[in-house]
């Protein structure tokens, strides 16, 4: 047993040491500057940065419920009790929908990130190119396993097997994106990695150069359980008012969620602190306020979840808010690491070349406002439908009908404006 532990620690250490190889740096600053796209950013980089942080946070909530939901499903299916079986199916449903949302929400942070940190992302992705492409393949396979688990949910052993495979693929996908993000933080090592000290060019795309187990655990594994725990508290809160739902079951699920969130939250906090200790000293991250604010956010969140243990339904919304604040602070910390790493070489997104234009930001803003009206209506109707007992039909109120008409109107208006502007431009340029 001791040998196994030793080998395991050695394995982790070796991964961490890969990131510590002697670097053939050259003029890293000049390289980063040359790599920044000559087209420049079409809007203020700080806006891209803020949007990137906010949208990453939204994306991660559903990444966590995708993976965490499957953890609960797998454990639930191993239990004979009816409530566990029921919970397993509910969290499987949560996971299935969450993967879709995680995918679609993941587009925005990567988009904004690539505008201001293009040197980091494109280099790191190309260093491990095949893995980066396999991210998509593994995600596809993993998601089909989850659908397989959903279609076989009445056969627990088969569904559990599918869920195990599904979560393994999602964890692998998480591993790949972790590697790409982590490698991106070490520009001084890229050339050394890619050329093996100048002996070759690693064009195969099969290499993985850096991994940090604590970062992986603290950014993916522990939060998955903790955030899904908070979702179970919300599950309890949301369905309590439905007369056809079993209150005892809901209370049990809520308490299970609160307990899981607390224990996993402790793991999250510990792995987060351990990760902080592995950050190289020359980044100055250990003395940064952003670093310790992220720790504080987790501590405060753990406090709220701790006080939720007796009445999870009542504390579901405060826990959600506390969790969101903690996650936001972690998103800020994660972004701060990029700033700290690249600052060593004089790279700053705030001095990124600017080719300012206002029409496309206006398009985004207009589309976002249109979308918000539509989301408000659609999600509200979904919320009401979920509250309606089985076999009954929810009849929309007068106000809801008005909101519905408004959402159809704004969406059609958007399409007319979009196509209309296009016609004017085409006639002007080619007419």
């Amino acid at each position: 047993m001791k040998d196994m532990i030793r080998w395991f620690l050695l394995f982790i250490l070796s991964f961490m040491l890969i990131g510590g190889k002697w670097a053939f740096a050259g003029d890293v600053g000049a390289m980063l500057k040359a790599m920044a796209d000559p087209a420049g950013a079409p809007f203020y980089p700080v806006v891209m940065q803020v949007l990137q942080v906010l949208t990453w946070m939204l994306h991660m909530i559903f990444v966590y419920t995708s993976i965490g939901g499957l953890f609960f499903t797998i454990y639930g299916f191993t239990k004979k009790e009816e409530r566990w079986q029921r919970l397993a199916k509910a969290t499987l449903e949560l996971s299935k929908v969450s993967v879709s949302l995680a995918i679609v929400l993941g587009v925005a942070p990567l988009l904004f990130y690539q505008v201001i940190y293009d040197p980091l992302w494109y280099t790191s992705a190309n260093l491990s190119a095949w893995w980066y492409v396999l991210f998509i393949v593994f995600l596809l396979i993993g998601y089909y396993f989850i659908w397989g688990a959903y279609f076989t949910k009445d056969k627990p052993s088969m569904s559990m097997l599918m869920s195990v495979l599904g979560v393994l693929f999602l964890l692998l996908v998480g591993f790949i994106i972790h590697v790409v993000n982590y490698q991106a933080l070490y520009p001084e090592k890229w050339v050394e990695w890619y050329t093996d000290g100048g002996r070759t060019m690693n064009i195969s795309g099969w290499n993985i150069y850096a991994f940090n187990v604590f970062r992986y655990l603290s950014f993916l594994v522990f939060p998955s359980i903790a955030v899904t725990g908070v979702f179970l508290m919300l599950y309890n809160w949301y369905f309590r008012s439905r007369e056809d739902m079993d209150k005892d079951y809901l209370d049990w699920a809520g308490k299970l969620g609160a307990r899981s969130a607390m224990y996993a939250g402790i793991g999250w906090l510990v792995s987060h602190i351990l990760y902080i200790f592995t950050i190289p000293a020359d980044w100055g991250a250990k003395g940064s306020i952003f670093t310790w604010l992220s720790v504080l956010g987790l501590v405060l969140c753990a406090g709220v979840v701790f006080s939720s243990q007796k009445n999870p339904a009542k504390m579901a919304i405060p826990s959600l808010l506390a969790g969101s604040v903690a996650l936001l602070l972690i998103a800020v910390f994660r972004e701060y690491l990029r700033v700290a790493s690249t600052a060593r070489f004089g790279y700053s997104i705030y001095s990124y070349k600017l080719n300012l234009e206002f029409l496309s930001p206006l398009l985004f803003l207009g589309t976002l406002l249109t979308g918000l009206v539509l989301y408000a209506y659609a999600w509200w109707m979904a919320y009401q439908a979920g509250k309606t007992p089985k076999g009954k039909v929810y009849e929309a109120s007068e106000t809801e009908h008005h909101l519905g008409d408004l959402s159809v109107f704004v969406v059609i208006l958007w399409a007319i404006v979009f196509i209309g502007v296009g016609l004017i431009v085409v006639v002007r340029n080619y007419g």
């Binding site: 000559p38 079409p42 587009v107 890229w190 496309s360 979308g371 109707m381 979904a382 159809v408």
Partner: protein, 473 residues
């Protein structure tokens, strides 16, 4: 350090890294066209169910929605970012050029993605749980949101082919870039064909439900889908003709002289098959069979979408974005409005190996020891986007293109007179110093003399530290 912003190169022997994009993109086009077409067809059918009081149509819609969720919203939503991911490693500078011009346009598309993905789940879960009128509204907003994603991506795809107008290079205006010459024909062509694609899979689903639906409802659904499908094909052909008329001159040359018949012919055939299938279904709805409709749907992928995507990617050459980034990622012309400078003069003067930060120091200065490896590195950096540069099979292979040319001087003569000084319209000009072109010639002659196939591994005689010492004694 005098460098240009190149990234580490990824090389996939034989098929080429572009093949990875092609596969992912074709799956995505199939899934996305199915889902966008279906969103409008289903909203139309839901309106029919509501107005004509035919609630059984909802059973059909529910089944179709489940099919969409399992196929389009798994494969489609993953392969969409998949195109982006694969482009990131195949052509990082190309995708970067697009993102730096269109980030807000893509962000607007993202708003519709969220609407689309959340609405498909909401429609599936709330069917029969909320009143029909509210559900119908959601169905139409879903349809327009889905279609809006196409409005947006088509503008970017069209810009990749060409900004359409010289004006953009001096105005840099997003409007000039986005609403370019072939935007509308491209959008209308895709819009038309998507009804044929969604209609075909719709017939397969209807055939599966034949026994569960009243005969009148079944016939109504099949006829509706068939009429939309026939319309889609007819209008698709018309808009295709318009689309071709808006292509740049070089694309016409490629279309006529470079694109092989084995890519063009299947498209014509599958269009005829799909049209005949719809006509049959419209005349004799009872004759529709799952075993007939579903294979036709699969054939649309192999005979229609994949060749079409291949052709579309090829007629864009030698560019990958906006007629200023070549397919080998070199910026080939100035864009004054954006302050972008052509990299060709710098590369011709200093050398491709010198300006690429990811080339080992030991290859930057060419000598008799490293000449072959330097030539191989140049081939991979400059030519592997469109050629298998280490073998005789697969993607336009060097082994075949230079067959019999074992004399470096002969290769050099060909490279300089044909590819550097008088390059064809679909290929980028061969760039680099004369010394580099000689190294490339030496490598090609070497690989041909080895039977036209060599390992892709690059071995550098000196480490970077040693090479640096040599340069700075």
């Amino acid at each position: 350090m005098d460098v240009l912003g190149f990234y580490p190169m990824w090389y996939v022997p034989v098929v080429g890294s572009g093949f990875v994009i092609a596969i992912i993109a074709a799956i995505h086009v199939m899934a996305s066209h199915t889902s966008v077409g279906a969103s409008i067809l289903l909203a139309y059918l839901a309106t029919k169910a509501y107005r004509e009081n035919q609630p059984q149509i909802y059973d059909y819609i529910k089944k179709y929605l489940l099919g969409l969720l399992v196929f389009s919203y798994v494969s489609g939503s993953i392969t969409g970012p998949g195109i982006w991911f694969s482009a990131t490693v195949v052509n990082p500078r190309g995708i970067s050029a697009l993102i730096h011009n269109f980030v807000w346009v893509w962000a607007a598309e993202w708003v519709w993605f969220i609407a689309e993905v959340t609405l498909v789940y909401i429609l599936f879960y709330t069917l029969g749980k909320i009143d029909q009128k509210s559900w119908l509204r959601l169905a139409w907003t879903f349809a327009i949101s889905s279609w809006a994603t196409m409005y947006i991506i088509v503008g970017i795809l069209s810009f990749m082919l060409s900004p359409g107008h010289e004006k953009w290079f001096t105005t840099g205006s997003i409007l000039d870039a986005f609403y370019n010459k072939n935007y509308f024909p491209h959008l209308l062509e895709r819009t038309s064909y998507m009804f044929a694609i969604a209609g075909t899979v719709g017939l397969a689903i209807a055939a599966l439900m034949k026994k569960d639906l009243p005969e009148k409802v079944y016939k109504d659904i099949v006829k509706t889908l068939s009429y939309w499908g026939i319309g889609g094909i007819v209008f698709g052909l018309m808009f295709f003709a318009w689309y071709v008329s808006t292509l740049p001159e070089r694309s016409h040359v490629i279309l006529e002289k470079v694109i092989p018949l084995y890519l063009k012919l299947p498209i014509m055939l599958i269009i005829l098959v799909v049209l005949a299938h719809f006509v049959l279904a419209a005349v004799r709805p009872q004759a529709v069979r799952f075993w007939m409709a579903y294979p036709i749907y699969a054939l649309i992928f192999f005979m229609g979408v994949y060749p079409e995507e291949k052709i579309r990617e090829t007629i864009r050459k030698p560019y990958v974005a906006g007629e200023f980034v070549w397919v080998n990622q070199i910026i080939s012309r100035d864009v004054p409005a954006k302050g972008i400078k052509s990299e060709v003069p710098v590369i011709d003067q200093k050398g491709l190996l010198t300006v690429n930060p990811f080339v080992p120091e030991g290859l930057k200065k060419i000598n008799s020891q490293n000449e072959i490896m330097a030539g191989k590195a140049i081939a991979i950096l400059q030519c592997s986007g469109c050629h298998n540069v280490t073998g005789s099979t697969g993607l336009r292979p060097f082994g075949q293109k230079f067959a019999g040319m074992t004399d470096p001087n002969a290769v050099y003569g060909f490279l300089t007179s044909y590819l550097r000084d008088n390059h064809p319209p679909y290929m980028p000009k061969l760039v680099g110093t004369d010394e580099e072109i000689k190294a490339l010639s030496a490598y090609i002659a070497h690989m041909i003399s080895k039977g036209g196939s060599v390992s892709a591994k690059i071995e550098v005689p000196n480490t970077s530290a040693e090479a640096k010492k040599e340069v700075q004694p």
